[in-house]
């Protein structure tokens, strides 16, 4: 999976979890710009990402994944470390 594919899949996941159109998800998206992003949905997001990419996200990272860019970094690391 290359970078573009990973970003595309993350956008897609954010869009279904937070129920917003895919075009509204950008690399600048964060808990500040997405209204639905609360603590409960955050856990749903983590579960969705884990299933989408077939990875297990380390607990220490979960609390940090509050914007698109950090999510991308954590997912790339998880895929490479798989």
């Amino acid at each position: 999976m290359d970078d573009i594919q990973i970003k595309e899949a993350i956008r897609n996941t954010l869009s279904v979890v937070f129920e917003i159109p895919e075009e509204d998800v950008t690399e600048e998206s964060s808990t500040d710009s997405i209204e639905n992003w609360d603590s409960i949905r955050h856990l749903n997001l983590i579960i969705a990402l884990e299933e989408q990419f077939g990875v297990s996200i380390p607990d220490d990272d979960v609390g940090n994944m509050l914007n698109f860019k950090i999510i991308k970094i954590v997912i790339s690391e998880a895929i490479n470390g798989k």
Binding site: N12, E19, I40, L43, N44, I47, E51, D59
Partner: protein, 588 residues
């Protein structure tokens, strides 16, 4: 999304489920369905999975989750829902229960057990008015117990489970969560790390499994269970083609490598037949060849006695299924059709999409587990005695319709049946059967309110309501309790009574039992001093046949909208009007 897609629930990922949820056509939903969850864990992802499950059977879901770790507190003010689900897990009884459990002294263990028994008693009484409550059995999985036979956690688990088993009200159903976890493997079902951090004990695969496992309960609760299993013969009931391979060439031997799978399949079918599922054959074959297999083939498990109706001919199968539906007098959407031919399955899918089709897997080893899964999901596997009678009843029905063909005038035919109806009022022994009819009857059902046993019991005990049940017999057999009517005196006017529900099982329709039963209800209400009777027809996808029932029986239309018509009849003007060839036994 297509109906029946829950079939694949466990193969969909969570993002796929979320995506699918957005794609259902909200406007084509049959009814609303409200679920409330009470939990002492973080179980949020189950919400979307339940939504998916409900949408895939055309129900419009509203799913709410109570406050975290407020199971008992919340239970005091739960409004009436279609279903309440409780996740009250031992592992989070208190913050550190799972850590210190094994260090507790015997006295403390007993105290814990008593405390939780009391809380459960509160749950039982607070939720007694709900239609249906699912409660998970207590489970010690997830505890870090040292292996020994009488650990504290096992004692608590055992005590509480026997307590709920013995004391649960009848509107509670217990879910074997431990079995679900075991079927996935503990590591795949539970996440200790997420539990420690967020109290999210269950992994997503567990929730998919859980929701799949309650699919049958959802179908039952909403009257959507399947009733008939239609089997092809060659390479579906046995290995081989009887017309080509002959009696010796086909294989169902439990000793042969391939035959054993067909032998298992036949065993499954026989046990379904014993549970009240209507087994039919639909095969392109010579009638005599198939008959020969049933009569002469060694190792056959299925016998002709298990078969309610059959279409062994060269007609196309969609026509055959339609004829079967007519003969059995049930809807095609109650059919499950099994065939090994992709052509036949494709034909049925395109011409009769309401039939659930099952293609025999190419990998024959998967066939038994597929059939068991179908059976668990779609058929009622906990029948009452009535369902057994029903199999016999349907055979009578087929005989009756044959007799009907041979006679011209319908009333002269009906008068040869020597039909007797017996009417009961507020009979406690019929509660289970009445609830079952209320949950399953679709066609002759004027309002299609679904009531559980608990609802019915409350009605029986309510002085301004009456619950009538009717038993029908004729010279072919006894159909058992097959009709229900619920009458309710109006709050604002004690001279008016309302027909809340009126329904008859489809297997007794077309015999004017409905006329006789309604006549009784009207005369009875009149004799009890009511002046007016009101009623409603609420339109569903399936009850078009009773659209004009009240009108054609003398009721005047009071109000009419697209989906509902209300009626009124002055009882003073009514005089007895009942088919004379039906004998009435009043047993109230």
């Amino acid at each position: 999304m297509e109906a029946n897609s829950l079939y694949n629930l466990t193969s969909l990922s969570y993002p796929e489920i979320l995506k699918a949820n957005g794609k259902f056509d909200q406007t084509s939903m049959d009814a609303d369905f409200k679920i409330h969850l009470l939990t002492n864990l973080t179980i949020n992802p189950i919400k979307e999975i339940l939504e998916f499950a409900l949408k895939s059977i055309n129900l419009n879901p509203t799913i709410t989750i109570g406050n975290y770790d407020n199971v008992v507190q919340d239970s005091f003010n739960v409004l009436k829902h279609d279903m309440v689900i409780i996740f009250y897990d031992m592992i989070n009884f208190t913050n550190d229960f799972f850590i210190k459990c094994e260090l507790m002294e015997e006295g403390e263990v007993n105290e814990t057990i008593e405390k939780h028994k009391n809380e459960i008693r509160l749950l039982f009484s607070n939720l007694a008015d709900q239609s249906l409550v699912l409660l998970n059995k207590f489970s010690s999985y997830g505890f870090d117990e040292l292996i020994h036979t009488k650990s504290n956690v096992q004692i608590v688990e055992g005590e509480l489970n026997s307590f709920i088993q013995e004391n649960k009200p009848q509107n509670f159903e217990l879910i074997d969560t431990k079995g679900l976890v075991a079927s996935l493997g503990i590591g795949n079902a539970l996440d200790k790390q997420k539990f420690n951090r967020y109290k999210a004990l269950y992994k997503i695969d567990f929730f998919k499994k859980y929701v799949s496992s309650i699919h049958n309960i959802l179908l039952k609760r909403t009257g959507r269970l399947k009733k008939a299993l239609i089997m092809d013969c060659d390479n579906t009931l046995w290995k081989g083609v009887i017309g080509e391979d002959g009696l010796e060439g086909i294989d169902i031997s439990p000793k042969s490598e391939i035959g054993i799978y067909y032998n298992i399949i036949q065993n499954i079918i026989v046990s379904l037949s014993k549970k009240g599922v209507l087994i039919c054959l639909c095969s392109k074959n010579n009638h005599r060849d198939v008959e020969g297999v049933f009569r002469n083939k060694r190792d056959m498990v299925l016998s002709e006695d298990n078969i309610v109706a059959k279409k062994i001919n060269w007609n196309n199968k969609s026509d055959n299924l339609k004829v079967l539906a007519d003969e059995l007098n049930i809807g095609l959407d109650s059919f499950v059709f099994v065939d090994d031919s992709e052509f036949e399955i494709g034909l049925i899918n395109s011409s009769l999409p309401e039939v659930l089709t099952v293609l025999v897997p190419k990998d024959i080893e998967l066939y038994p587990s597929l059939m068991i899964e179908i059976a668990r999901r779609y058929f009622n596997l906990q029948p009452l005695g009535e369902d057994l009678k029903k199999v016999m009843g349907y055979k009578d029905q087929v005989r009756r319709s044959k007799l009907r063909e041979s006679m011209g005038n319908i009333d002269s035919y009906l008068s040869t049946l020597e039909t007797t109806i017996t009417i009961y009022k507020d009979n406690d022994d019929h509660v289970a059967r009445i609830a079952q009819l209320s949950e399953k009857t679709n066609q002759f059902n004027l309002t299609t309110y679904r009531y559980t046993q608990n609802d019915i019991l409350q009605f029986i005990n309510n002085p301004v309501m009456s619950v009538f049940s009717v038993d029908v017999s004729d010279r072919f057999g006894n159909s058992g309790i097959t009709g229900v009517c619920i009458l309710k005196e109006l709050k604002e006017d004690d001279k008016t009574v309302e027909i809340d529900s009126l329904l008859l099982s489809c297997r007794i329709l077309g015999r004017r039992v409905e006329d006789s039963f309604l006549d009784f209800l009207l005369m009875h209400s009149k004799e009890n001093g009511y002046q007016t009777i009101t009623s409603k027809y609420k339109k569903t996808k399936k009850n078009a046949q009773v659209k004009d029932f009240f009108h054609s029986h003398g009721f005047a239309i009071a109000q009419k909208t697209d989906n509902e018509t209300s009626y009124k009849l002055k009882l003073l003007d009514y005089s007895a009007n009942s088919p004379e060839f039906i004998k009435k036994n009043i047993n109230i």
